[in-house]
């Protein structure tokens, strides 16, 4: 059994240290070691987007990142989206538009949408739909999700 490796990284703005095996994904460490249960495991092979996090500004599937790869880097999970003042506008608009039903894909959609708005504050509907093509939702049919994201962009 390979030895555990010590990793230091910034997670949701806080310096964090943990031990991991090289085979452990970032998703596994976030949920099982660090307790960030908001990041969901869906397909665990890069198709569904439920495990999306922002790694140094880039949207990634945390199931396809080894935890050892994040040494010295910065990760934002769904838990880092809201502030002490309240919900992030995306979270608020998802509620207002009822952009979720079972809610399992929602953390991934919100993190993905935040990554979009961080680099393109005023996307077109086409741009929102293309950006969210890597996130699967089996309940909503996507329309309400797209409307919620566009509403945040407008306000």
């Amino acid at each position: 059994m390979p030895n555990k490796i010590h990793i230091s990284a910034t997670i949701n703005g806080e310096e964090t240290e943990f031990l991991c095996e090289p085979r452990q994904s970032l998703l596994e460490i976030l949920r099982d070691t660090l307790g960030f249960m908001g990041t969901k495991e869906g397909c665990n092979n890069g198709n569904c987007g439920a495990c999306n996090v922002i790694l140094d500004g880039a949207l990634v599937n945390s199931c396809l990142v080894l935890a050892v790869e994040i040494q010295g880097r910065s990760v934002t999970t769904i838990e880092g989206i809201a502030t002490s003042e309240g919900l992030h506008p995306l979270q608020q608009k998802f509620i207002e538009h009822a952009a979720l039903q079972c809610g399992y894909c929602t953390p991934g959609f919100i993190v993905a949408s935040k990554a979009l708005l961080d680099q393109n504050p005023d996307p077109s509907e086409q741009e929102v739909r293309e950006w969210l093509a890597g996130n699967l939702c089996r309940c909503t049919g996507y329309d309400r999700i797209v409307k919620a994201v566009l509403d945040v962009a407008d306000s």
């Binding site: 390979p2 599937n61 790869e69 293309e130």
Partner: protein
């Protein structure tokens, strides 16, 4: 997932020694969008994973008088966002941009797409028509290999024991060069090509004749295909619809697709001609040529 050790070498020589020390038991990690899934599902085995993203040569996207050099581990997003790539290598952007959604683009590399050697890989026909060349390092030093010779069977590439892909060189396009890649899928996004087609052309000064052309196909043979006879046919010919259609027919003739869940032999053969014609039209438009009548 199976247990393995992890190491992130800082230069190519170190990576070569590590690979050599493992007798085939080590795997190269770039973006991980194929490898991590394959390791998790047990389709590949590794005692050691060598992360090459800390080697500057492997993540570079550089341009000089020799053309564009893409590190084998450079992420698709970073390649497509490069201003020189956006200006001069539009055929590459067409192919690379199609690899997965945003989350995959952030991590997946063109080098990985090439090494994974899928017959349907979108970047490979695009690389072939841009005359890209692989830079390979191994225990016997460095060597180069044209991209069209890199894939040898589904999932198998031409790398010998202890070798790995360092970078891909894409020559600076000539004057009046244009290239394009497109694929057919039965939906708008997020799918694997039923057929893919790439084309590049160079026009003469009056933009009425082809100086040269290259055509490549994906998903119609065990490896991506370089349709050299179809491209060679166009060299010196007039820019006419009849000549474009004849080149498309010649490309179609070398395709040897199979019937599978994505399409039938007949459908794929039909698509070859349609897509090659459209890829040529796209390339001509980008070279500044008139739409052929």
């Amino acid at each position: 997932m199976q247990a393995f050790d992890y190491i992130a070498p800082k230069n190519v020589d170190e990576a070569v020694s590590l690979l050599a020390s493992q007798n085939g038991n080590a795997k190269i990690l770039a973006g991980g969008t194929d490898l991590i899934v394959q390791l998790r599902e047990g389709r590949r085995k590794a005692g050691l994973v060598i992360d090459v993203k800390h080697i500057p040569e492997l993540t570079q996207i550089a341009h000089d008088e020799n053309g564009l050099r893409i590190g084998a581990a450079a992420a698709c997003h970073d390649i497509c966002a490069n201003p020189i790539v956006q200006r001069k290598y539009l055929g590459l952007v067409d192919g690379i941009h199609l690899i997965g959604g945003v989350q995959i683009q952030s991590r997946a590399s063109v080098g990985g797409n090439l090494c994974n050697a899928s017959p349907a890989a979108d970047s490979i026909p695009a690389l072939i028509v841009h005359e890209a060349v692989c830079n390979i390092a191994g225990p016997n030093g460095r060597r180069t290999l044209p991209v069209e010779e890199f894939c040898i069977a589904p999932g198998q590439n031409a790398l010998q024991a202890g070798e790995f892909l360092v970078s891909i060189n894409v020559p600076t396009p000539k004057e009046k060069f244009g290239a394009g890649y497109l694929r057919f899928i039965p939906r708008n996004e997020m799918d694997i090509a039923v057929v893919g087609a790439g084309a590049s052309i160079v026009l003469d000064d009056d933009k009425k004749h082809f100086v040269s052309a290259r055509i490549a196909l994906g998903a119609v043979a065990p490896t991506p295909l370089f349709a050299s006879s179809a491209g060679d046919f166009l060299a010196g010919k007039d820019l006419t619809r009849a000549n474009i259609k004849e080149a498309a027919r010649l490309a179609q003739a070398i395709a040897r697709p199979i019937t599978d869940l994505r399409g039938t032999v007949e459908h794929r053969k039909h698509l070859c001609a349609v897509l090659v014609e459209r890829a040529l039209d796209k390339a001509i438009e980008r070279a500044g040529g008139q739409h052929a009548q």
